[in-house]
Symmetry: C2
Subunit: 303 residues, 2 copies
């Protein structure tokens, strides 16, 4: 439940607070070392502590707050989700994949280090996420920890992130219909966001309707997020995004904008955000207020 | 405990039996699909079902037998270990890493598919391993499942496989002393083998001395395995290994052979295998007989 202080904070202030807290947790989980393999850990830190809005950790923290989950535990789950997100960005940026030189306004990990180190850093971050979730510090109940591991594994694997990225690459060669584009986004973006929102419910041992409501919220919001991402790619400015724009068009990728046009895409994003917010009506009072604010933010964001 | 039938089987027969059982389990875990992202699953199957001795699954199965673990459960843990081993081979073979065109006598995964698909297939296999271990089908006790996840994550991550591979790559540029080479092998080979042997003890809720004995056995055997690998690289024949030989020398890598010479390396392997076997004396009768046979096999193998 939001404290009086939180109620007076702007969304940006809350986002910044989570950003700092999660960065601290990640820094603690990835301490500097002078071991001979230090280069690997340097790349892991570089690829995770190089900015980013920490939207997924924010979802974990906010969904956890609904169920009064201990914040130290929630931060560990939030860090695990962010490590998986960052690992996927590191691998997606590789020359063999999206070949992106820049990420969050800085050289991408393989540019700063090299391809081999970037591949290994991604791999090690993925493994670390599961190490964190399976540790008793994340939750005393091993059943809860197993559930977190299982759901994150599903979100990260062939049915989630990896499958979505595979589709994304195939989409450069063939034109997808709207159904396949939606499927792609559900796997590539939606699944991990869904886990982020579900994680709070799992940690809080929430009932099925509450858990389902958060999943539905996340699915719609993830969908809206991808639509706005595609819109930003055609009309956003490099200075806000920290990465080149119009890259989907250049790569010949099928996007929501290419499939339905910009105006219809904007209408769809708005509809999805409204729908996402409605799922949260199950939570009484202002318990889910910040998640609702987040949904509006996704619609209005410029980066 | 070995059944009368097992007692009369040769090690090769037992290895073949595990190979077939684990391949069946992996095939069931990675069914063919006609989904648009099928290419990813094709690559995952190709990278895991393309031969291989299944030594690590054999270690899981044999250590599990000591504690009368249900074989269906043990096979799931064995499959998870093998998926991690195969993922690491897929990534290690990439042009950015060891740049190996052949693996087990066939084109390596990125040669058969492409680099991007190979990267994603490896990632998805790593995630799948954790999905398997966290599933109640692997063990009814969530504490056991969490322990399996945690130990596999440690074996796969920066302190294990990934850290070892990082060192291996750094070893192409600088000469390592024997201590660093040993450390490298412990991380790159030893750690996952140790988990393979420990997994049986975790599944069987074995006591600390039994678990420790299996870990020590695996550490020494893993070390011996890497030494014999280095020896095979300089004197083995392509036809047995299914991959080019003398590649370490060409890449200027520091190996046990380069650091201590072939004869001393052979003596070291023998000493390590004897030491490994001695750790198993804690198990009465012929309970650990097959693991002892496996240790002798590592010493004599030609591939």
């Amino acid at each position: 439940m939001p404290s009086p202080r939180e109620a007076s904070q702007s969304l940006q202030e809350k986002l910044n607070e989570t950003l700092e807290a999660v960065n601290k947790t990640i820094t603690r989980l990835l301490p500097e070392t002078d071991l001979p393999e230090a280069r690997l850990f340097d790349a892991m830190r570089y690829g995770t502590l190089n900015g980013g809005k920490r939207m997924r950790p924010f979802m974990v923290m906010q969904s956890a707050k609904i169920f009064n989950v201990d914040m130290k535990r929630a931060r560990r789950a939030a860090a695990a989700v962010e490590l998986v997100h960052c690992y996927s960005l590191i691998h997606d940026d590789l020359p063999a994949m999206d070949n992106a030189d820049m990420r969050r306004g800085k050289p991408s990990t393989h540019k700063k280090f090299d391809d081999a180190t970037a591949i290994l850093a991604g791999d090690a971050l993925l493994a670390l996420a599961f190490e964190i979730l399976s540790d008793p510090e994340t939750h005393e109940d091993p059943r809860v920890r197993c559930e977190l591991v299982k759901e994150l594994a599903l979100a990260a694997g062939g049915q989630g992130l990896c499958g979505g990225q595979m589709l994304d690459l195939l989409g450069e060669k063939e034109e997808f219909d709207l159904g396949t584009i939606s499927r792609l986004q559900r796997m590539k973006t939606g699944r991990l966001m869904t886990f982020a929102c579900e994680a709070g419910a799992i940690l809080g041992k929430a009932g099925e309707p509450q858990r389902k409501a958060l999943c539905n919220f996340a699915q719609d919001l993830g969908h809206a997020f991808q639509v706005t991402d595609d819109i930003l790619d055609v009309e956003g400015e490099v200075i806000h995004l920290g990465k080149p724009t119009k890259k989907d068009d250049k790569a010949g990728k099928s996007t929501f904008v290419s499939a339905m046009g910009k105006e219809q895409a904007k209408a769809r994003a708005e509809m999805l955000v409204q729908q996402a917010i409605r799922h949260l009506h199950i939570f009484q009072g202002d318990r889910a207020e910040t998640l609702k604010e987040l949904a509006m933010y996704v619609l209005k964001r410029r980066a």
